[in-house]
C-alpha cells in the first residue's frame, strides 16, 4: 500500500533548482493541482521538461508567468507568447527538441539506455553539436537520455498501490516520464481500490510511483 500525500506536502519535497518532468500536452494530462501548488509555494530556478509551454493561464504557462522556470526543454512554445518573450530576452533558457526525439530521450532515460539513434533532425539546425552515427549506410543523430529529479504525472486512475491508468490523449508524455525521474509523484483524477484497474490497463506499474497526491476538492479539476 502506498500512503497518499497532500498536494502541499508533495511540492514541499521539491527544492528550488530542482529538475522536473511535467506530463501533459497543451495542458491536457498535466498535473494541474501540483502546478498550482508549485506556484503557491513559489519554487524557483526550476529546470522543466515538458512537451510545450501551454497557453497563457493554463498548464506550464502558470509557472512561466511567475518566472519560476530557469531552463525549459520543450518541443513547442508557439501558443505561449510570454514564453517566447522570456526566451528572446534571455530570462529563461529554452531548448527546443523534435517531439519524437524528446519522447525517446525520456524513454531512454527511464529504460536504462545510453541514448537513441534517430534520423530526425539530420540536415537541420537540430544536428548542430551532436554526434552522427552511421548504421548500414544511413546517418542518424545520437540523442542522449534525459532524466530529472522529479516527475509530476497526471493519471486518470491510481489504485492504493500506485498502479496508474491513463485516459485517451491525457496519456501523452506521462507514461514515459513516470520512468525517468528519481521521485515520481502521481496526481490521479480518482483513486480506486486495488483490483479496480485491470492488469492489462495499467499504463505505469506501481513500483515506479513513489507518491500519490490525495483526492482533490473538485472531482473534475483540469486547471481552468
Amino acid at each position: 500500500m502506498k500512503k497518499s500525500i497532500s498536494c502541499a506536502d508533495a511540492v514541499e519535497m521539491i527544492p528550488d533548482g530542482a529538475s522536473i518532468m511535467l506530463g501533459g500536452f497543451m495542458g491536457v494530462g498535466s498535473p494541474h493541482r501540483l502546478i498550482d501548488e508549485l506556484v503557491k509555494q513559489n519554487k524557483r530556478d526550476l529546470t522543466v521538461y515538458c512537451n510545450d509551454a501551454g497557453r497563457p493561464g493554463f498548464g506550464l504557462a502558470k509557472l512561466i508567468a511567475t518566472k519560476q522556470v530557469k531552463k525549459l526543454y520543450a518541443t513547442h512554445i508557439g501558443l505561449n507568447p510570454e514564453c517566447q518573450r522570456q526566451m528572446v530576452s534571455g530570462e529563461m533558457e529554452v531548448e527546443l527538441i523534435p517531439q519524437g526525439t524528446f519522447a525517446e530521450q525520456i524513454r531512454a532515460g527511464g529504460y536504462g539506455l545510453g541514448g537513441i539513434l534517430t534520423a530526425t533532425g539530420i540536415g537541420t539546425v537540430v544536428e548542430e553539436g551532436k554526434q552522427k552515427v552511421e548504421v548500414d549506410g544511413k546517418a542518424y543523430l545520437l540523442e542522449k537520455p534525459l532524466r530529472a529529479d522529479f516527475a509530476l504525472i497526471r493519471a486518470y486512475r491510481a489504485d492504493y498501490r500506485g498502479n496508474l491508468e491513463y485516459m485517451l490523449t491525457a496519456r501523452n508524455f506521462n507514461q514515459v516520464m513516470a520512468m525517468a525521474a528519481d521521485k515520481v509523484i502521481a496526481e490521479p483524477h480518482i483513486i480506486v481500490p486495488v483490483g479496480v484497474i485491470p492488469p492489462d490497463s495499467v499504463g505505469t506499474p506501481f513500483v515506479c510511483v513513489h507518491h500519490i497526491v490525495e483526492r482533490g476538492q473538485f472531482f473534475d479539476y483540469d486547471g481552468r
Binding site: D52, I77, Q84, P98, T120, G123, Y166, R171
Partner: protein, 225 residues
C-alpha cells in the same frame, strides 16, 4: 471563383488513399477531411496520442482528455485507440504513417521544406514536424503559392529547414508541383490558372511537361461532412 484554401484542400483530398493512416498538420490541412471523396475511409492520427480522431464532438459532449495537437476538443471513431507519445512517434518514424499533409513557409528546388521558424521573429518550436516530415511515407505540403506577393517556392529555402528529406508533393492555390531528381515538375494547374501565371508566381525553376492538366476538382460547394 473558389476560395484559395478550398482549392488546396479539395485537391489534397484526392491524394488520400482508402484504409490508410494520415496525419494532418494544424491550420489548412485540418480542412481536408471535409472534401474526402465518397467511399474513401482514412484514419486520422493526432500525434498527441490518438488514431481515429474525428471532427468536433457535439457541444456539451466534449471530453477534457480527448483533444487534438492544439489542445482543441475532438471526437473519435469506433475502433479508435489511444497512444502514449513514444508509441505515437514510433508509428510516425517507423513507416506506419502513410501520409502527412502539412503547411509550409517555403519549399525549394530540391523539394526541401521550411515550416517551423523565422529566426528572430517567430520561434514556436518544431513540435512533431521534423519527425513527421522525416518519417511519413508521403509528405504533402499544402500552402498558398505566394505570401504578400512573394513566391513561397524558391530556388533555395532561406528559412531553417524542417528536414533534409525531399517532400512528395506540393499543392497550392495555383498548382500541383512534384519535386523529382530533375527538379520541380509542374503537374497540374488550378481551375482558371494558366501555366504562365504559375511560372510568373514561382521563383524556383519549374519543369513544364507538354501537357499540364487542370486539377480534377469540382467547383461545387461541399455540404455533407
Amino acid at each position: 471563383m473558389m476560395d484559395d484554401k478550398v482549392v488546396i484542400a479539395k485537391r489534397v483530398a484526392l491524394e488520400l488513399e482508402d484504409g490508410t493512416l494520415v496525419n494532418l498538420g494544424i491550420g489548412l490541412p485540418t480542412t481536408v477531411p471535409k472534401y474526402l471523396p465518397a467511399g474513401i475511409e482514412v484514419y486520422f492520427q493526432s500525434e498527441n496520442g490518438i488514431i481515429g480522431m474525428a471532427a468536433n464532438p457535439e457541444e456539451g459532449m466534449e471530453n477534457l482528455a480527448l483533444t487534438d495537437a492544439g489542445g482543441g476538443f475532438v471526437a473519435a471513431i469506433p475502433g479508435a485507440c489511444s497512444l502514449d507519445s513514444s508509441l505515437s512517434f514510433g508509428l510516425i518514424r517507423g513507416g506506419h504513417l502513410a501520409l502527412t499533409v502539412l503547411g509550409g513557409m517555403q519549399v525549394d528546388e530540391q523539394g526541401l521544406l521550411a515550416n517551423w521558424m523565422i529566426p528572430g521573429k517567430m520561434v514556436p518550436g518544431m513540435g512533431g514536424a521534423m519527425d513527421i516530415v522525416n518519417g511519413a511515407k508521403r509528405v504533402i505540403v499544402a500552402m498558398t503559392h505566394t505570401a504578400k506577393g512573394k513566391s513561397k517556392i524558391l530556388k533555395k529555402c532561406t528559412l531553417p529547414l524542417t528536414s533534409a528529406r525531399r517532400v512528395s508533393l506540393v499543392v497550392t492555390d495555383l498548382a500541383v508541383i512534384e519535386p523529382t531528381d530533375e527538379g520541380l515538375v509542374l503537374r497540374e494547374v488550378a481551375p482558371g490558372v494558366t501555366v504562365e501565371q504559375v511560372i510568373a508566381a514561382t521563383e524556383a525553376k519549374l519543369i513544364v511537361p507538354d501537357v499540364v492538366p487542370v486539377m480534377p476538382i469540382s467547383e461545387e460547394e461541399v455540404v455533407a461532412a
